[in-house]
Structures are given as C-alpha cells and as structure tokens.
C-alpha cells in the first residue's frame, strides 16, 4: 500500500480537531456569557457584587478616616465635595407612590414616583437654600445623577426604591416654603395622588458621598485668575 493517503488523512484529522475544539471552546464561552444565564444565577451575581461593593465602601470610609485630614483639605472643601457626613437643621421629605386604587383606563404611570419628580423636589430644595441633600442615603454631590433605570431610580449609580426619603440641611422654613408654593411641586405631586410628607427637623444627619473619585477628564487649570 502506498503512503500517498497519509497527507490527506492527516489534513482531514487536523481539520476535524480544529472544528471540534473551536466549537467546544465557543460553547463554553457562550455558557459563561450572560444571556444564557438564568435569572437566579444573575440574582446571585448581583447580590455578590452588591455585597462586594458594600465591603469596598466600608474600606473607603476606614481608609479615609486613617488618612486623616490632609493639608490640602479644608472643612469647606470636604463639605462641598460631600467627603464628610454633615448634620444640622433641615427637612425630611418622604415621597411614595400613590395608594389610591387605579380607575379603569387610568395610566398606572401617573401613580408612581418618577425620577423627574425627585429631580424637581431636589431642585426646589436647592432653590430654598439646601446645603446638603441625600436621597435614600445617597449624598448628592456635583456629579450625582437622578435617572430612570427601568422600574427603579438610580442615584449615584445605586438603585433606590420607594419610599424615597430626601433629607436636606438648610433653613427648614425657607425650604418647606419653597416646596409648598402654590402650584409648586408638592401640589403637583399630590394632584396625582403621590404621597408626600414634609417634616422639619432640628437635627438631620446626611451621610458622606460613598463613591470614589469621579474626575477622570476634568483637570484643574494652573492659572491664578479664572478665565471667564
């Protein structure tokens, strides 16, 4: 028997091995990718990630405490950056979805609190002179967002759910007046059945901003005077 069949058979087996392992590798990759995971798996993953995040946030806090007050930081910059927890007189506003049963044909969307409702509340608080604000324990800093993410609301990239507790430090009278203006935000929300309660407090505690440094693109300009 001549050996001229060796090369073709070798080539065929190389092709076969190649096909086999490529397909197997791809199947393994696919099984490990997200879409084929079941909801339960994803929930476990999410829970683990959230636990890891909570642990890391604790670490940030202890490390910040260890770092002490660096020379560059002053109380004023810490306050402005949300790097310290603050307390003082202020308001606690609790907002939750409408408890009224929906009438037939009514849009269920009007009965729930949306991100723009929270945004408007926060905006009114600021116009009423709020110095520090937190929503469900998330300190609002200069880069904080209040966005809609499916059925939940994102603040500082954390999901928050009703009831929404908005704490603010400032003059309680001014701030509650700003909210309760005729035709203002509270009236607007109550028109749709959203439950809003305002309580003036002599002592409100607002936690520090728990995220990391959030300046990657903006760099300070080394110039004595501000370009304007």
């Amino acid at each position: 028997m001549k050996n001229n069949w060796l090369i073709p058979v070798g080539v065929v087996s190389i092709v076969m091995g190649f096909l086999l392992s490529t397909q197997i590798r791809n199947q393994i990759d696919y099984r490990q990718s997200l879409p084929s995971r079941r909801v339960e798996d994803l929930m476990v993953l999410l829970k683990n990630a959230e636990e890891a995040k909570a642990g890391l946030e604790k670490e940030v806090q202890t490390l910040r405490a260890q770092a002490g007050d660096g020379s560059r930081h002053t109380d004023a910059t810490d306050l402005a950056a949300g790097a310290v927890a603050v307390q003082g007189p202020g308001l606690e506003v609790v907002v939750s979805d409408s408890a009224k049963p929906l009438q037939k044909g009514e849009d269920p969307n009007i009965a729930i609190v949306h991100n723009d409702d929270l945004l408007r509340l926060v905006n009114e608080l600021r116009s009423g002179g709020a110095e520090a604000i937190s929503v469900n324990g998330q300190r609002l800093v200069d880069t904080s967002e209040i966005t809609c993410a499916g059925s939940t609301i994102l603040v500082n990239q954390s999901r928050i759910t009703p009831p929404f507790v908005i704490k603010s430090i400032g003059n309680p009278e001014t701030m509650s007046a700003a909210l309760s203006l005729r035709g203002g935000i509270i009236e607007y929300l109550q028109f749709y059945g959203i439950q809003v309660s305002i309580s003036k407090k002599t002592e409100v505690l607002i936690p520090m901003y728990s995220g990391g440094s959030h300046y990657r693109y903006a760099k300070p300009v080394k110039q004595p005077e501000n370009p304007s």
Binding site: L6, G10, V12, S13, L20, S21, D29
Partner: protein, 116 residues
C-alpha cells in the same frame, strides 16, 4: 500503524490549533457548526471502519468528509429557512451512523485480536 499515528497526531494538532486560534462562531451559526462536526465525525469513523475492512478509498473518504460536512450544515440551514428543525434529522441520522460504525469497528478489532 502509520495511519493511526498520522490520524491521532493530526487530531491533537487540530485540537490545539482550535483551542488557541481565536476564531469565534456566532451563536446562531453554532447549530450548523455542530451538525457539520457530527457529519465529519461520522465520516471519520466510517474511514476507520473501512480501513479496518481494508477497503479504504481515499477519494471516497475525502469527498465524503467535505460533502457530508457541507451538506449537513446546508440542510440544517435550509430547514431553518423552511421553519422546520431539519438539523434534528441530521443529528439522528449521523448519530445512528456513528454508533453503527463504532459497533462495526469494535467487532472488527475484536475479530482481529481475539478469534473465538
């Protein structure tokens, strides 16, 4: 003997190549790929069997390998276009044939080494 070495060596080389060559198959093509592999496996076992029976034909083997692979994938694709799972038929046919070939190979090897 040479044949076994070349075949095994080729398989191992191919598997290593496939493991490290970053070729990714989109998920929707993966089904056709799997059917093609099944056809290729069938042809491979058929080749082993025919060489044990000492009626191995190179042209039949190579043409069978190429044609079976392409036809299986093509039929699976056609089935998808028609809205029937024709690839299931390919899986059944090639699966049965692989088992038949394996049984034949086992008997041939047994017959070669142990004669009762």
């Amino acid at each position: 003997m040479m044949g076994a070495i070349v075949t095994l060596g080729g398989l191992i080389l191919g598997i290593l190549l496939g493991a490290f060559f970053p070729l990714s198959i989109p998920q929707y093509l993966s089904k056709y790929f799997a059917v093609a592999i099944l056809a290729a496996l069938d042809t491979g076992f058929g080749g082993i069997r025919s060489s044990l029976e000492e009626r191995f034909g190179l042209t039949v083997f190579i043409s069978g390998f190429v044609a079976n692979t392409l036809l299986a994938a093509g039929l699976a694709y056609l089935g998808d276009q028609l809205g029937i799972d024709l690839y299931l038929a390919a899986i059944v046919v090639f699966g049965v044939r692989i088992f038949e070939n394996l049984a034949k190979i086992r008997r041939l090897i047994l017959g070669r080494f142990w004669t009762f």
